[in-house]
Amino acid sequence: MRKGVIFDIKEMALFDGPGLRQTVFLKGCPLRCSWCQNPEGMEKKPVLMVSWASCLHCNACRNVCPHTSSCNACGACIPVCPLNLRHIVGEEIESDVLVKRLMKDSDYYRRYGGGVTFSGGEPLLQGEFLLEVLEKLPRMHTAIETSGFCDASLFKDVVGALDFIYMDMKLMDSSRHKKYCGVDNKVILENARFLCGSDKPFVIRIPVIPGVNDSEENYRATAKFLKGAKNLKRVELLHYNSAAGAKYSMIGKSYRPDFDPERVAMIDQRPFTEEGIRSVVL
């Protein structure tokens, strides 16, 4: 049996698919988008997360820390915090255990038109684990939120096992994609091409980042690429969240976006309308 690493199971996700759903966050991501809101999901290994804003600076955590020079997320400080501000983010879990947890309320979610969505991190980074979990989830509506950055055959297998796909298309230009997301977009576009031709219903998401991908050129290129995709339900343009940096300090990192977060992004739905594609702004 395979093991995976997850970092959260959220109830009643609102923007992750139809009906009432739960969302599983798989840990680890091969991309390094500088606007990432979930920095705790980047590394596959568990990390310590601290909500400093409410800290009383009572020093109880320091007094018990066995690794003062560098934190290895041993968790010794967690029980001593009087306000419960410290957490280990990341839990290794066997596929059976995860399936059991998800099935606990499956009747409830099914009754309200929902199911489960796999998000991350990048869930496809743990593709084999994900496939094993999907295989064991009978009669549940399943969806994924993915960057599409993975091997083409794995992508096909996972798409085949799911009911609904949310996929990001952050940037069409390959060199800019590399610059802002840390990886080439060649394989992403290949997988998107496959999705456009498949019979699986899907949504394309564009996190609109000021100065990065909010050019008319990028919108047009995306729209042109998607033109004619028969199961594309809509394109969702997601507003950049100004609170995106909130969690960085909690995992001992600093938020350094390589764009101007104060600038207002240009939202343009026309290129999609012109290609006959429905789009919404969230």
């Binding site: 199971i9 609102l14 923007f15 009432l20 029980p79 001593v80 009087p82 419960n84």
Partner: protein, 691 residues
């Protein structure tokens, strides 16, 4: 879309509060009581004379463009008794709250549909009958009611003249028909209602609930709509004006906090025929409230397993406005629950909510649904100190908890004896049987039951779960050690406190281990009240509400086994503990729908707070509506959902001047956040954990 006329009216009464310009000076509170005392007048005469005094002192205010008139100007409603007399009464009796009849739902149609002239004629016949039978006291009582009706008519006449003076022919015309005659149109019915409601407040009766307005005003509404008197837009505009009348005088109403005025409106509901009574007027009430965005009237929706999803969506749109309502109650649970308590099927089907959430029966119940409260957490605590050490098993210990609940409940019931309520002769005109018997409603009605709230059930269940799991189960916590911690507020073991607070089982996480303990506690509460009678011939009803008792109980309570510190807050109503890190709203809903709620049906909602981002799109809004529906489907009894934004509230504490209009729901009512005491503000902020 709100019309220009209504927008201006809303601005004037709700934002600028121009009505304050018309208020008369505060006067001597004992001006009448001293004279009453000298004359040794009885309570009925005092209540009558006071109401006549206030009505006489009222000065008519009519605005040129309004269609429904009446505005309070008298600020001081004088006392009935001198301070010495009041003390003497309190020594001999139990005085509930302020002593006035409150929190009941009169049948407005008993006057609306009859008119004062016909009512007076009816009363005269009855007086003659009573006199014939030598029942002087009863005859005198009804004659006092006639004097009240005449005094109201005098005031109405002054209003009519004023309306003519300012050129308001609409109001002048309505007042030439009602209240002397019965209402013959929807507008007249609303004007008539306004007068009745106004007079109730003038008699110092408070928490005058509105009840099933969509039912008793429906015939008038339906008739006028059928006759083509109004387009839908015009009807909504008129209803919005009517709704605004509930926001005119509310600063003069007594209440625990501003906004706590009990103007609850109940929409829909299954009738004795099994059909849902939600109608076009109910829908118009929803739309008007959505349009107006004011805190009164407070909307309550009666729903059931067949309620169309679209109503939940409409309700959720209302929730999105952050007014703290609608509150939902589930007919599938409430009606059978009330029947089990002895209410007839027909009466149970007509239930409404009292000021906050307690279920009461219109025109038949002189129930006092909030007479006291049991502290679940307090009972567990006492059992801990007295019996934890000596109990060899958890089952043994649980028996002591049960006994403590029984003891506390018995003591509460014992202390309800000798309730004295000030007479309410005007309200009695709209309560079943008062006229026939010549008896004031303050002395009792068809139902005379007392409701007892239950506070801190989650804290109690969580504490017992700790004892069951760690003290008796894996024995990882020693009895003496736990007791020491409860005594010294965990000073001797702060780490244990953290673990119990954050890592022990909690009600609200859909964990049967702890949820079943809550079920047991609630069952025990209901079962110890079963068969007990109060001294008005009524019964006692167990409930899941807290009202303000949770604040008082928390202040007195030492540290609890769930890791709660001494004096730290208890959850309001039927809700998870304040430091429960819940998995989410679905877990909460599942945890809080497992109990046998129909056995503890005094009322008291599960309270969920959701962050305003959940309403971002139509789709996400529908998910909130589904969540609400799911609580009803699972057998939950009552639910309120609050919309709050934590950052907003923190900022509001720093800059109250910027947030004068920010509305929150505190226990059963909505109020302006900046007008609340700081302890309530802090509580609300602390409670915002869901999103």
């Amino acid at each position: 879309m709100i019309s220009e006329r209504i927008r201006k009216m809303r601005k004037a009464f709700v934002e600028e509060k121009i009505q304050k310009k018309y208020w008369q000076e505060e006067t001597d509170h004992y001006v009448l009581a001293r004279e009453f005392s000298r004359q040794k007048e009885d309570s009925i005469d005092r209540a009558t004379e006071r109401l006549l005094f206030v009505l006489d002192h009222e000065k008519p205010v009519v605005f040129p463009d309004e269609k429904i008139a009446f505005l309070r100007t008298v600020r001081t409603i004088p006392e009935l008794y001198t301070e010495e007399e009041a003390k003497e009464i309190a020594r001999k009796h139990r005085i509930h709250e302020k002593g006035d009849v409150c929190n009941i739902n009169v049948d407005y149609s008993m006057l609306l549909g009859v008119g004062f002239d016909a009512k007076k004629a009816e009363l005269r016949d009855r007086i003659a009958d009573f006199r014939q039978r030598g029942k002087e006291k009863e005859a005198h009582y009804l004659s006092q009611q006639i004097r009240i009706l005449s005094s109201v008519e005098d005031l109405v006449d002054r209003y009519r003249k004023e309306a003519e003076k300012v050129g308001n022919t609409t109001v002048a015309s309505s007042l030439s028909h009602v209240p002397s005659g019965r209402a013959t149109s929807w507008l007249e019915a609303m004007q008539f209602f306004r007068i009745i409601h106004y007079v109730m407040w003038c008699g110092r009766n408070y928490h005058n609930t509105l009840g099933r307005m969509d039912q008793y005003l429906y015939p008038y509404f339906h008739h006028d709509m059928e006759a083509g008197l109004y387009t839908k837009e015009q009807a909504q505009e008129l209803l919005e004006e009517f709704f605004l009348t509930f926001n005119r005088d509310s600063d003069l109403y007594p209440g625990m906090q501003q906004g706590d005025n009990g103007q609850s409106l109940v929409l829909g509901g299954i009738g004795p025929d099994g059909k849902d009574s939600y109608n076009e007027l109910s829908e118009l009430c929803m739309l008007s409230s959505l349009d107006l965005k004011v805190i009164d009237p407070k909307i309550n929706l009666r729903v059931n397993k067949n309620t169309p999803f679209s109503l939940y969506v409409l309700g959720t749109k209302m929730t999105r406005q952050g007014l703290g309502f609608p509150q939902y109650s589930n007919d599938d649970v409430v009606i059978p629950g009330l029947e089990k308590l002895g209410y007839s099927h027909e009466d149970a089907c007509s239930y409404v909510v009292a000021a906050c959430w307690e279920f009461i029966i219109p025109n038949k119940a002189m129930d006092i649904p909030n007479i006291d409260a049991l502290s679940f957490a307090g009972a567990v605590e006492k059992a801990c100190f007295d019996f934890l050490e000596s109990s060899p098993t958890y089952e043994e210990f649980e028996k002591h908890v049960d006994e403590q609940i029984e003891k506390d409940a018995a003591s509460i019931c014992e202390h309800t004896k000798g309730v004295f309520l000030y007479p309410a002769p005007f309200l009695s005109l709209m309560m079943t049987g008062c006229e026939e018997t010549g008896r004031d409603v303050s002395l009792g009605c068809v139902y005379n039951n007392y409701g007892i709230h239950g506070t801190g059930i989650a804290t109690a269940a969580d504490s017992l779960a700790v004892i069951k799991k760690y003290v008796y189960g894996d024995k990882s916590i020693g009895k003496a050690h736990l007791l020491q911690c409860l005594h010294d507020d965990f000073k001797s073991d702060p780490i244990l406190c953290n673990n119990l607070r954050y890592r022990a089982p909690k009600m609200g996480n859909d964990d049967d281990f702890v949820d079943s303990i809550a079920t047991h506690l609630l069952d025990q509460f209901a079962s110890v009240l079963k068969g007990k009678k109060n001294d008005r011939g009524g019964i006692f009803r167990a409930g899941t509400g807290s009202a303000m008792y949770y604040v008082w109980h928390a202040a007195k309570l030492p540290a609890t086994a769930d890791g709660r510190h001494s004096g730290e807050g208890l959850p309001a109503n039927y809700s998870p503990s304040l430091f429960c890190r819940s998995f989410g709203p679905i877990s909460i809903i599942k945890s809080f729908s497992k109990q046998h709620l129909e056995n503890a049906i005094n009322g008291g909602p599960l309270t969920l707070e959701v962050h305003d981002t959940v309403f971002k799109t139509e789709e996400s809004l529908e998910k909130v509506a589904m969540l609400v529906k799911s609580y009803i489907d699972l057998g939950g009894h009552q639910l309120q959902i609050n919309t709050v934004n934590r950052e907003q509230l923190l900022d509001a504490q720093k800059h109250p001047e910027k947030y004068r209009n920010l509305i929150v729901r505190v226990w059963g009512w909505s109020g302006y956040f900046v007008e609340l005491d700081k302890c309530y503000q802090d509580h609300i902020i602390q409670r915002m954990e869901l999103s």
